[in-house]
Every structure is written in C-alpha cells, then in structure tokens.
Amino acid sequence: MERVGWGLRSAVIAVYAFLLLPLAIVTLAAFNAGNYFTFPPQGFSLRWFGNFFARREFMQSLWLSLELGFWTAVISTVVGALAAIALVRGRFRGRDLLNAYVTSPLLLPQILTGVAMLQYFSLIGLAQSYAALLIGHVVVTTPYVVRTVSAVLYNFDVALEEAAQSLGASPVRAFVEITLGIIKPGVVAGAVLAFAISFDNFTISLFLTSPRLTPLPIELFAYLKYSFDPTAAAASAVAIGVTLVLMLGIARFMGLEEFTGF
C-alpha cells in the first residue's frame, strides 16, 4: 500500500483538479476585464456583473428561477415527506414496488420526461404555462425529498415515539413533537435540494418553457448559442453562488455523508 501511495495521491489530486477546473474558470472569467479569457488574466473588473444585472431578460429569468425553485421546494417537500413517512413506517404489501415507482422519475432520462410532458400538456391545453413548468419541476425533484426524508426516518428510533405515548401524549402529538422534530434535518435538506435542482434544471424546462417563461438556465443557453462574452460567466457565477450557499446549508443541517447515502 505504501509503495503506490504517491502514485494514487497524484492521480486523485489530478482528478479533483479536473472536477473543479471548469467551475473555477467560469468564476475567474466573470471577474476578468477582457472579452476573452486568456492567461495571464487582463485585470479585475465587475463590468460583466454590471451587464448581467442591467439586462432585463436576465433579471426576469433569475427572478423566475428563484420563484419557481421556491414553489417547487414547498410542494415537493410536503408531498415527498408524506410519501416517505408512509413508505418507511407504513405496514402494507407492495412497498418495494411503490418505493421504486415513487423514485422512478430519477431513473428516466429527463429528455424523455420532457418530451412526454410537452406532448401531454399540449393535448390538455396546458402547454407553455407556469403550472406546467411547476408540475414538471415537482415531478423530478420530489424523489430526492423522498430519499432524504426516508434516510433520516430509517435511522429513527420508534421507541422515542412510544415513550412519548406512554407518558400520556396522544399518537398525533407524539408524532408532531417527536417524529417531526427528528426528521427535520431530512426535510430541510430535501427542501434545499429540491430548490437547488429546480434552480439548475435545464432539460425539463427546455420542453415546458415559452418566450415569456424562461428560467435562468434556458436564458443562459439561448445567450450562449449566439454570443460568447463573459456576461454569461457573471450569470453563471451568480448561480454558482446561490448553489454554494445552499450546499453550506445542507452541510449544516445534515452531514454530507448522510446526504449522499454512504
């Protein structure tokens, strides 16, 4: 083991560099003064951020993404947590099957979900609406909430709830005060994750978007198809900042190890 130590270590460092490189480059390019990002950088500037915040279409889409992420998180957290409680604590047959069904949107490539939803919403006359966009996001984010809440529930000692009941609490009160208190980290992590995934979602939005409803990733994609200036980098840096704050939030409420399921 000792002999391969340094070889393994340098390979690992190289791969981490590969993973972080594009994110670091985008952030640096956002603060770079020049039109093109070459090495060495051409000096520090905030003008791309200024450009980003001055463009009405970027501001509208940033606002839409934040709002959509918020409502997606609210809805998927409620329905996802309820489903998780039933899946972990319920006594009924066919639980494995239901579990697989509830998490199936995670396994299907999103381009297929997007195409199917577009055709469906067109048929029922709901295409290009805010409702369609919201439903699409809820369908793909809720499985994550089910997962995080289930993970916490599995480790939860039912004896605590029983103790509360034997001390005279009603089953409902025992549930609200003990169980909800204990699964709170999972619920919060699920909500944050749902927001982050909705905020960054591209593929579902692509099929359910309309000229008046363009979330930030779609706006960014459209911008990148025709222009290459670092305003897109500033937009990306803002989005990375939002995600970073959320990641720290998850790390605080729920260990990252638990969160990834190790």
Binding site: P22, L23, Y36, V139, N201, F202, T243
Partner: protein
C-alpha cells in the same frame, strides 16, 4: 417489531404524490408511445396505428449512424469515467483525513452546479479563442488553435466531467464495504499489494463498477445539453434528433418514435442497474 401506520393512513399519505405521478408522468409516457405510432400529414397530427415512424428510423442509414455514434460515445465516456473515478473513490472510501467533508463537497459540487454552466466552463477552456488555445496562440507556441471543441473530443471531455461524480459515488459505497481484514489476509498470505488489489479489491468492487458504468452510460447516451453546446450541432446523437424533431421540425410522431427508442435502451440499462444494486446490497449487508 416496529409499530407501523395502518394501510389506510399510509395510502392517504402516499396519495398526493403517487396520484400526481400517475397523471403527470406515467400517463404522458403512455401518450408518447401512442403518438409514436400515429401519423402527421401536412403538419396536422392525427391519431393512428402505424409502424411508419419506426420503419423510417430502421431503414435510414443516417439514423443507424447516429445510434452507433451515440452508443460509442457513451461507451468511451463510461470507460474514461471509470478510469478517472476509481482512484478517487478508492481514496475517498479509505481515507481517514479530517478534510473528508471538503473532499465530498469537491466531488458533489459539479453535480449541484447547473449543466449549462459546467458546459460553459469547458467552452471557455476549449474554444478556438478559449483559455488553452488563446494562451498558446498568443504566446506564439502554436500557429493555429487545436481542434478541441465542436467535435467528439470536446463533447467527450465535458460528458466525462458531468457524469464522473455519479461514478465516484457508486464506487465509493461498494469499496467502503470491503473489510480491510480481507486485504490483510491477502498480504499475510504473501500476495503483493498489486496482486491483492487485482484479485481481492477489484472483484469485490465489481458490483459498484457495473452499477456505476450502467448509470454513467445511460446518462451519457441521453444527454442533450453537452452535445449541443460542445458539439455545436456537428456531433449528432440521438437526443439531438429527438429535440430537433420535436422542437424544430415539429414532427411529433417521428420525434416520439426516436424518444421511444431511447426509452427502450434506457429501460434495459436501468433494469440492469436496479438488479445489480439490489444484489450488491443483499450480498454484502
């Protein structure tokens, strides 16, 4: 014995999401299947039952070429992700450093940054006037920029980057469950570290290798953003055909047929993935 919720309460709790899933996910997929065997004449869609759309795919060498390119690219990306991911997963599973949470953040952070942004990062790096080429040309080390983007190479690099975290996470879970004593047993019986690695660690991590590979492969062949942004519509893969037929050509039946072909391939891969992860969990836990 854990006390459980009664079936009625469970059903009530499950109802909101399963009902939404049935109406907005399962039904749309069935409708997509129905659309794929329907007809569209002069831009007007009409319900029908015809295999024409599938016949058009199967009889046209262009679409076979696209399918072949898609699968080949998926395979290359999977192999590269396995090669890069294994050392990191091995290290992550074995390390006792107190920086481990930070390492996990590094592995996860690309996952939580939007895919468009990750592609844009690679565009800044790989474009003709990007960081690599721009720097090399400006300093006179190169006369002409290297062809790094708008080709299969660029798409491949970005795809590996986008899906590497999934490979690392799949592998780490399995490698972590390999007891150190088993490796010590190998060493104490006189095996070299290399032999211990190849004959004990690798076979025991095989479920993770297979699961991670299936996952990355199925994600890679259904990726759309990466081939568009890094390939610039010069690299044709199945998802691009689906997108073009649905959103540019507006030939819904043919687009749906393409999507359904992708669906069947993914479904086969997912079934394999689920079976593998289940068996791996049952065998070890």
């Amino acid at each position: 014995m854990r006390p459980g919720l009664s079936p009625w309460v469970s059903a009530a709790l499950l109802l909101p999401f399963t009902a939404a899933l049935a109406v907005f996910f399962t039904v749309p997929l069935f409708i997509m299947a129905a659309v794929s065997v329907s007809r569209q004449s002069f831009g007007r869609f009409e319900w029908a039952f015809t295999w024409k759309n599938y016949a058009r795919f199967v009889t046209d060498a262009f679409y076979w070429g696209v399918l072949w390119d898609t699968l080949w690219l998926g395979l290359a990306v999977t192999a590269a992700a396995l090669l890069l991911g294994y050392p990191v997963a091995y290290h992550l599973a074995r390390t006792r450093t107190r920086w481990k949470p930070l390492l996990l953040v590094c592995v996860l952070s690309p996952l939580l940054v939007g895919i468009v942004i990750r592609c844009y990062g690679w565009m800044i790096l790989l474009a003709d006037r990007g960081l690599i080429n721009g720097t090399l040309v400006e300093h006179g080390w190169l006369a002409r920029p290297l062809p790094l983007m708008y080709n299969t190479l660029g798409v491949g690099i970005a795809l590996v980057h986008v899906f590497l975290p999934f490979m690392i996470l799949s592998l780490t879970g399995v490698i972590k469950r390999i007891e150190p004593q088993w490796l010590e047993a190998g060493v104490s019986l006189g095996a070299s570290p290399a032999r211990t690695f190849w004959e004990i660690t690798v076979p025991l991590s095989l479920p993770g290798i297979l699961a991670g590979s299936l996952l990355v492969f199925s994600l890679a062949i259904s990726s759309f953003v990466v081939p568009v942004l890094l390939g610039g519509f010069k690299v044709y893969v199945l998802p691009i055909i689906v997108y073009e037929q649905i959103l540019s050509v507006f030939d819904w039946p043919f687009g749906a047929a393409n999507a359904f072909i992708l669906f069947v391939i993914s479904l086969a891969l997912i079934a394999g993935y689920v079976k593998l992860t289940e068996r791996a969990l049952r065998g070890i836990v």
